[in-house]
Every structure is written in structure tokens, then in C-alpha cells.
């Protein structure tokens, strides 16, 4: 592969008077899962929101799929092929699961016209969605809502998925299920994944970038980081017992 | 001495100081400068509106509360004194009872409305006050046995304030010292005192907290200030002062009625004045009221001439009809919210600040 799918160069983002991103350089290659790690407040979520155009960079460039999207409005960025799963999931709780997915399927004019085969593929790893298909999404459990949020991102083929902390607040058994789902997903999709759960990303990640203080302080392959305990400790302040 | 009187909040702009001085001297000497009942009436109305608008600025400009119930409190004050004088006869005791009753009613209402709706967002409060105020005005005009209904009530004021009263036979500067003159100075000095009091309030630590809440209520709360309590206090204070303004107006007019005291037009007047004069400055109330009331009384004459000149052209003649002066003020209002959110006073101060810089 020559060009990376997504490239951030020297991105600065201000929110109000706060200078959150202070020159982020990040590359997401085509295919697989790129993991973005870092402490709370390191700027991971801001990075995703800046890519998505929900906050605009005050300096630097964001290039996606050969185009400059730094100052594009959010809907244009979405239509260029990036799907976003925010930390809060952004579920429409008044709407049913079906309607949530229907809105995410931009090219579909009527709810009945959604791609059956693709839906079956999604039900393959998110079985609960089929069951609660006509339930208001607000009545689902946290894990099921997360499934809806991710399913919305993949209901039609997209070039890049931005997923913010999908395991936050989920029970360990459900996290195991998520790992299975992401294994299936990464066969076809490119994902930029923000996570705090180190064992989760160890099992999934291909490449990794670590943020601190609004900058990328390390990037490399996930496998290398997973093997290097000392580096983990230095970058993430991880202690072994906490994450085993 | 002046610094202390003004609570160290000086006008901070030479043109502004000059304008304020002109208004102050003009109002103070009005009975000797102008002749005729109408001109003196304009001067007294300006005095009352300075207080009324400044008390509204306490809410809008300093606390960021949008209330549409300010005329209700104004009306409570006016009706309180008016009905007491009407029912109990012209005595100072009646004035006292009416004022005290009105103040307590205003306080209770302000507290209830405040605690009920100030917890939530500004918009909610604006809507609730609008509803309550309109219901109040309907009730006041419908309870005609008590309030005189749409016609309102005329009443006699204590003897010393009656126009026929003479303090002594001699004239001062060619002016008879009659009850009207005494009433005027009662209104003028009360208004002045209330104005200086409000200047004091906004420059006190309490006033600073209010401004902090307006800028960022989340942070003010985090610093340990109970925003609801401060807002409610400001709301009560504004209501009480508006009530006193109503008392003054009733004493001056010797009349209370829904159109002059409670109607929504009074509310829009207050809004227009506060925004055009300058929100969050208190001084804006002086400049705004003076300009607005003068315009209301004299601009219409000009418009009538313009309208007459254009009488051949139907649409234009309508545009400049004296009754349409609110149209032009409305346009001015919208423009000033966009382009001069700090109003006349804010503009003058910024200019002075820029000039003061090397």
C-alpha cells in the first residue's frame, strides 16, 4: 500500500480556551485495526472528533482517502466514507433498532430495502439485534446499545470506522463477545479504535499509537508493544496486576 | 465624594459623563427649565423609567435572566398605592400601607416564580414569567369592582402632593411651589436614591457573583456559589425596586390603570430601553430612558410631519405614521442586539478605552 487511508499532520485543536490537541501526527493504514491508547484526557476522543469534523482543527491537516477534509463539515466527512461510534454511543433511544439502522443506511430510501444479506452478516455476531429489532433502542441494555451503535456504523460498507471505547462499562462476558465481533469485522473493515482496556486491544490491534498531552508519543505495531512490558509501563503507566 | 456616591463605578467615558450630567441637571431643574404640564410629565416619566429599567438591567444585564414579569411588579406597586389611597382616603398612612402591601406581594410572587423556575434554563423562565404576567394583567383588568377594570382608578394623594397645595405664597425662580412641584421632587430624589443604591449593589461582592454566574454559571457553582439562591435574590431585588418605581408612578399620575401599568407594551418599552441604552451598565438605563421617553413624546411630532409630507404615497405615509414609531425602534432594537450588544453606554466606554490606550 502506498498512501495511508487517513493521515493527520500537525493537528492542533482548541475547545474554547483549552488547547487540547497540540500537534497530532497520526497515520491509519488501509485495513486492520489501528489502536489509539492513552490516559484519560490525553486527547483521544478529541482526535476522533476532529477527524469527524465535530471540532475543527485550528492548525494542521487531516487527509482522508486522498482528499483534504480538515475543514469539511461533518455530514460531508461522513459521506466520504467515515463512520463514527462516539463514546456515548449516540443511540436514538426513541427510535427502534430497525429505525436506528435505517437512518444509518444513507442510500436506502425505505426501511424495507435494507440489504438483507448484510443485516444477516451483522446478526451473525450481534444476535441480540435481530431479537430486539422492533424495540425502542432506549430500552436495551448497555451492551446491546453498543451493538446498535456499531451496527449503525457498518450497516453499509464504509472505508473507515472510528470507534470510541466500545467496551466502556460492559461486563467481562460481553467484552469477550465484542472481541469475537471485532475479529470478524477486521477481516473486511479498517478501524481506528480508541480504548482503555489493554487486554482487549492486545487481542485485536494491528498497529498502535499512544497519546499523551495532546500528542502522539509512540507508534508502532501492537505485537511489539504487547511484548514489551517496560515500554507499556513507560507509556501507559500500566502495572501488570491491574490488567491481567 | 462623587466616587463614593457612584460606588467607584464611574462612567469611564467623557461623552458619557457629559450626557449623564446633562440628563441629571435637566431632570433636577426640569420644573424651572420648561413650562407646561406635559414637559414636566415627560421628566417625571424619565425618572421613574430610569429606576424601572435599571432594576430590569439588574436581571437581564447583570444576571442574565430574561423576565417578562417586570411590568407585573411595576403594576403591583402602582396598584398597591393607588388602591390603598382610593380605599383609605388621601393619607400618608395609606401610602405606607399600599407600598408595604405591594412590596410584600411582589416579594412573595418573585420568590415563588423564582424558586419554581429559575433552576431551569433561561428560556423556561422567560416563558413562565410571560404566562404569569399576562394572567396577572387579565385578572387585574377583570376584577373591576376592586381595581376599576379597564378604566383603572383615579385617586387623591396626600394633601401636600396635591396640585392645589401651596407651600408658601412666594415664587421661586418664577415658579409657584405647589404640590405638583413637591411630588416631582419626591419622584426625582427617590429615583436618584434608588439609582445610586442599584449602582452600589452591582459593584458590591454580591453584584460580582451575579456577573460571574451570568458569564459561566457552571463554574460559579463549582466555586461554591449556590447559583439558584443568587439568582432568586437578584430576582427579588429587581422585583422590589420595580414595585417602588410603580409606587412613584402612581403618586405622580394620581391614576392607576392596566394600560399604563400592566400592559405588555410597557414590557417591550423596558426591553427596548435596556438594550439600546446598554445591558449590564446601569448607566444605560439613564441614557436609554431619557432618549426613549423624549423620542416617544417628541419624535412622533416629527414623524407626523414626515407622514403629512408623504401623504400622497399610501405605503410610505403609513410607515411614518406617528403611531408607527415602535416599528423604527423595533428595527433599531434588532440591529443593536446584533451589532451593539452593549448598547450606547458600552459603545462609548469602548471608544474611551481605545482612545485611552497609547
Amino acid at each position: 500500500m502506498s498512501d495511508p487511508l487517513l493521515q493527520l499532520a500537525g493537528v492542533h485543536t482548541h475547545i474554547g480556551q483549552y488547547h487540547i490537541l497540540q500537534g497530532v501526527d497520526l497515520v491509519v493504514p488501509q485495513g486492520g485495526i489501528t489502536v489509539l491508547l492513552g490516559r484519560n484526557g490525553a486527547g483521544k476522543t478529541t482526535t476522533l472528533r476532529t477527524i469527524m469534523g465535530l471540532w475543527h482543527a485550528s492548525r494542521g491537516t487531516v487527509r482522508f482517502d486522498g482528499g483534504d477534509i480538515t475543514q469539511s463539515p461533518t455530514p460531508d466527512i461522513a459521506c466520504s466514507g467515515i463512520a463514527y461510534v462516539p463514546e456515548s454511543m449516540g443511540i436514538f433511544s426513541d427510535l427502534t433498532v430497525r429505525e436506528n439502522l435505517y437512518l444509518a443506511a444513507r442510500s436506502v430510501k425505505r426501511a424495507g430495502e435494507m440489504d438483507e444479506a448484510r443485516l444477516e452478516w451483522i446478526f451473525g455476531f450481534f444476535g441480540a439485534l435481530k431479537k430486539f429489532w422492533n424495540q425502542p433502542a432506549g430500552t436495551l441494555s448497555g451492551g446491546q446499545k453498543q451493538m446498535v451503535a456499531i451496527a449503525r456504523a457498518i450497516v453499509e460498507p464504509r472505508k473507515l470506522l472510528l470507534i470510541d471505547e466500545p467496551t466502556k462499562g460492559l461486563a467481562p462476558a460481553i467484552i469477550q463477545g465484542m472481541i469475537a465481533a471485532f475479529r470478524e469485522l477486521k477481516r473486511t473493515e479498517t478501524i481506528l479504535l480508541v480504548e482503555q482496556n489493554f487486554s482487549f486491544v492486545c487481542a485485536l490491534g494491528d498497529s498502535v499509537a499512544v497519546m499523551d498531552g495532546g500528542r502522539i508519543v509512540h507508534s508502532g505495531s501492537m505485537a511489539a508493544l504487547a511484548d514489551d512490558r517496560e515500554l507499556q509501563h513507560k507509556l501507559l503507566g500500566l502495572s501488570l496486576d491491574a490488567h491481567q | 465624594m462623587i466616587r463614593t456616591l457612584l460606588s467607584r463605578d464611574l462612567p469611564r467615558s467623557r461623552p458619557l459623563s457629559a450626557m449623564l450630567l446633562v440628563v441629571l441637571l435637566g431632570l433636577m431643574l426640569a420644573p424651572f427649565l420648561v413650562s407646561g404640564a406635559r414637559s414636566l410629565n415627560v421628566a417625571a416619566t424619565i425618572c421613574v423609567f430610569v429606576v424601572l429599567v435599571a432594576s430590569y438591567d439588574l436581571l437581564l444585564g447583570y444576571t442574565g435572566i430574561v423576565s417578562f414579569a417586570h411590568t407585573m411588579f411595576y403594576g403591583i406597586g402602582a396598584y398597591g398605592v393607588g388602591l390603598a389611597l382610593h380605599g383609605m382616603g388621601p393619607s400618608w398612612w395609606a401610602v405606607f400601607v399600599g407600598t408595604a402591601g405591594a412590596l410584600s406581594l411582589s416579594l412573595v410572587l418573585a420568590l415563588v416564580i423564582g424558586l419554581f423556575s429559575l433552576r431551569v434554563r433561561a428560556i423556561f423562565y422567560a416563558m413562565i414569567t410571560l404566562a404569569v404576567a399576562s394572567a396577572f394583567s387579565v385578572v387585574a383588568s377583570q376584577m373591576s369592582d376592586f381595581t376599576g377594570g379597564e378604566d383603572g382608578r383615579t385617586f387623591k394623594v396626600p394633601e401636600i402632593l396635591q396640585p392645589s397645595f401651596r407651600l408658601f405664597d412666594a415664587e421661586i425662580l418664577g415658579r409657584v411651589v405647589d404640590g405638583k412641584l413637591i411630588t416631582y421632587y419626591l419622584v426625582f430624589f427617590s429615583a436618584l436614591a434608588l439609582f445610586l443604591f442599584m449602582l452600589r449593589i452591582v459593584n458590591s461582592p454580591f453584584g460580582r457573583v451575579l456577573q460571574a454566574i451570568r458569564e459561566n454559571d457552571f463554574r460559579a457553582e463549582a466555586l461554591g456559589y449556590r447559583t439558584v439562591i443568587y439568582r432568586t435574590l437578584a430576582n427579588c431585588l429587581g422585583a422590589l425596586i420595580a414595585t417602588l418605581a410603580g409606587v412613584l408612578m402612581a403618586l405622580w399620575l394620581r391614576y392607576v390603570g392596566p394600560k399604563t401599568m400592566l400592559s405588555f407594551e410597557v414590557m417591550t418599552d423596558i426591553l427596548l430601553i435596556v438594550v439600546i441604552g446598554g445591558m449590564g451598565t446601569i448607566y444605560g438605563a439613564v441614557i436609554g430612558s431619557a432618549l426613549f421617553i423624549l423620542a416617544q413624546n417628541y419624535l412622533q411630532v416629527l414623524m407626523a410631519q414626515a407622514s403629512a409630507a408623504m401623504s400622497g404615497i399610501p405605503f410610505l405615509a403609513n410607515l411614518f405614521h406617528p403611531d408607527r414609531w415602535l416599528l423604527w425602534l423595533g428595527v433599531l432594537f434588532v440591529l443593536s442586539v446584533y451589532f451593539f450588544p452593549t448598547g450606547i453606554v458600552g459603545r462609548l466606554r469602548i471608544k474611551a478605552l481605545l482612545r485611552g490606550r497609547p
Binding site: 469527524m52 465535530l54 455530514p75 461522513a78 424495540q135 | 416563558m127 385578572v139 426591553l271
Partner: protein, 340 residues
């Protein structure tokens, strides 16, 4: 490894769908409770129909406002201006075509009123579009300025009505065949009130269908809850909003025509008068909720009519009483709208 479908089956009981029925019952329960108080059945029927008719008209005027607020967090204090502009625009058709209004022909009456409504909705819709662009767009997210600026817009609009139509009140004639009443036994049902109920129900049902069955409607509901996410899914919420604003303004115009014909006279102040009522209704219903707005409108109007008959003095403040009672029960209104 545990597969996901197994995980899901652990909490397999279908979650209970919480349909909040209580507010729905309010209107019929209130109506039934009033029957013994009113005493006479025919009077009760007349009062109830009058209340429903008024409620429907208020709903038309309020529904747009509540949606606009829900979707974009914009409260338009000038919404009443659309009501008066709508009503006054209708006179442009109704006064010149007086002969059609006076004709004893349902067909001619309907077409002249239909034409008036169409023109009124067109004008208020266009006005709404301009209002959104000029007045509201620069002050998104600034509540204080929004209130002030929309209030200013209202003053200007009211004055412009004076400029264009003059300061006198305009009598508005009800078409010949819309006058009078149907008599059922002892109960008299005024024809125009039945028409108002019919139009109101049509508006409500179409709104309900649009909001539940069409993609645009679903997007509007989604946008009320989380506008940012709608954008992140690739839709321009601004366009949605302009659409809702225009539709809401046009509905206010429709309500204005209906209201003007109901009152049979027009003054420029009707916008301001109705604003208060509309605000109470959307507070009662829960800001942003169309269903709540509908129930709120019925509730306020019915109570006003019953109170007007049973205790005329209370009727003066019945709107406020309804609002206070509902807010004591549910501080966010009947149907609080979920927000991020």
C-alpha cells in the same frame, strides 16, 4: 470462547416497552369528570366540542414551535407573528372574493377558504424561511440573544402589519355554509368547530405519520434527541431545521387563518395574545414533544371551556392553573424529551 448470541441470550427477556399511557388518559378522564359537574348532557357536549375545536387550533399553532425548539434549541418568541401574518394574509383572498364567501354553496365556500389557507401558508412559510436566515441564524446557541432578537422581530412584524393593513380591526366573515350549528337532540354543535376539529385531527395525524413513517420524520425525531449524531451519520441537520422551521411557520399561518375565522375579527395583537397560550401548551406538553403538545393543547382548551361555564372568574387564570398543576406533577412537562 463465548459467542455473542449466547451472551445476548443471557438477558433474553424482552425489555418491557414503557408506553407512558397516563397523559393519554388525562383528556378523556377530565371530560368525563366534568359531565356530572356541568349537569346537562347537551351543554357538556357543546362545551367539549368547543374545547376540542379550540385545542386543535392551538395545536396547529404550537406544534411547529415545539419541534423547532426540540430540534435546534431555538425558542422563537416571534412565533405569534406568523399566526397574525397568516390571518391577515387570508383577508387578501377572503375580502375581495366576498361573493364566494357569502354564496350558499359548500363548494364555493370551501374553495375560497382553501385558497386563503394556501396563500397564508405559502406566505408564512416563506416568511419563516427569511426569518430563520436573517433573524435566527446569527444567534444559534445564544439563548439570551435569541429571546431578545425574536421578540424584536415580533414587534417589527406586528408594526408592519399595521403599516400594510392599517391599524383598524378587520371583520372576517365566516363563509355562509360554515355558519350555524347541527342540532342533535338538545345539543348544538357549531359547524365551524367541527370543521376546526377535522382540520386539526388531519394535521395531527399527518404529522404523526410523517414523524413515524418517513425517513425525514425519523431524522427529525433523531435530531431532537442528538443532532450531532445525525450529522455524523451524514445528514445536514441545518437543512432539516430550515424545513421544520418553514413547516412550523406555515402551520402557524394555518392556525392563524382558522383562529381568525373563529374570532371573526382580526387585530394585529392576536399574535401576541396567542403566544402566551402557545407557550403554556408547549410547556405543559414537554418542550420538543409533538404528542405532548397535542394533549397539552386539548387539556388547556377543555379546562378553559369548562371553567368558563362553571366558574367564569377561574377561567381567567385556568391556563396558568393547568400549567402549574402539570408542572408540579411532572416538572419537565407531560412528555419530557430525552436529551443527550
Amino acid at each position: 470462547m463465548t459467542s455473542i448470541s449466547q451472551v445476548a441470550s443471557q438477558d433474553s427477556a424482552l425489555p418491557k416497552v414503557r408506553v407512558d399511557m397516563l397523559p393519554l388518559l388525562l383528556v378523556p378522564v377530565l371530560a368525563l369528570l366534568m359531565l356530572p359537574l356541568v349537569g346537562s348532557f347537551p351543554t357538556w357536549v357543546t362545551l367539549t366540542v368547543a374545547g376540542l375545536a379550540m385545542g386543535m387550533m392551538v395545536f396547529m399553532m404550537a406544534s411547529g414551535l415545539t419541534l423547532i425548539f426540540g430540534l435546534m434549541d431555538v425558542l422563537n418568541f416571534g412565533h405569534g407573528a406568523f399566526v397574525s401574518v397568516g390571518a391577515f394574509t387570508a383577508t387578501l383572498v377572503l375580502l375581495p372574493m366576498k361573493s364566494w364567501v357569502e354564496a350558499e354553496s359548500v363548494w364555493m365556500n370551501l374553495s375560497v377558504v382553501g385558497l386563503a389557507i394556501l396563500l397564508a401558508m405559502l406566505v408564512t412559510g416563506l416568511l419563516g424561511w427569511a426569518f430563520e436566515r436573517i433573524i435566527i441564524r446569527p444567534v444559534y446557541g445564544l439563548h439570551l440573544k435569541q429571546i431578545l432578537i425574536t421578540m424584536g422581530g415580533m414587534i417589527v412584524a406586528e408594526q408592519l402589519i399595521h403599516v400594510i393593513w392599517g391599524a383598524e380591526q378587520i371583520p372576517l366573515q365566516l363563509p355562509a355554509t360554515f355558519r350555524g350549528a347541527f342540532i342533535f337532540g338538545d345539543a348544538a354543535l357549531e359547524k365551524y368547530r367541527l370543521i376546526a376539529v377535522g382540520v386539526g385531527l388531519t394535521v395531527f395525524i399527518s404529522m404523526f405519520l410523517v414523524l413515524n413513517r418517513t425517513k425525514v420524520g425519523l431524522l427529525i425525531r433523531a435530531g431532537v434527541e442528538n443532532g450531532e449524531m445525525v450529522e455524523a451519520l451524514g445528514y445536514r441537520i441545518r437543512r432539516l431545521f430550515v424545513g421544520v422551521f418553514v413547516a412550523g411557520s406555515a402551520l402557524a399561518g394555518l392556525g392563524g387563518v382558522m383562529w381568525g375565522l373563529y374570532k371573526e375579527t382580526l387585530t394585529a395583537a392576536i399574535g401576541g395574545e396567542i403566544t402566551v397560550l402557545v407557550f403554556i401548551v408547549i410547556i405543559v406538553g414537554g418542550l420538543g414533544s409533538v404528542g405532548g403538545c397535542f394533549i397539552g393543547a386539548m387539556l388547556v382548551a377543555l379546562v378553559a371551556n369548562y371553567a368558563g361555564f362553571l366558574a367564569p372568574k377561574v377561567a381567567l387564570v385556568s391556563d396558568i392553573l393547568v400549567m402549574v398543576t402539570v408542572l408540579l406533577w411532572r416538572p419537565q412537562g407531560l412528555y419530557p424529551v430525552a436529551k443527550r
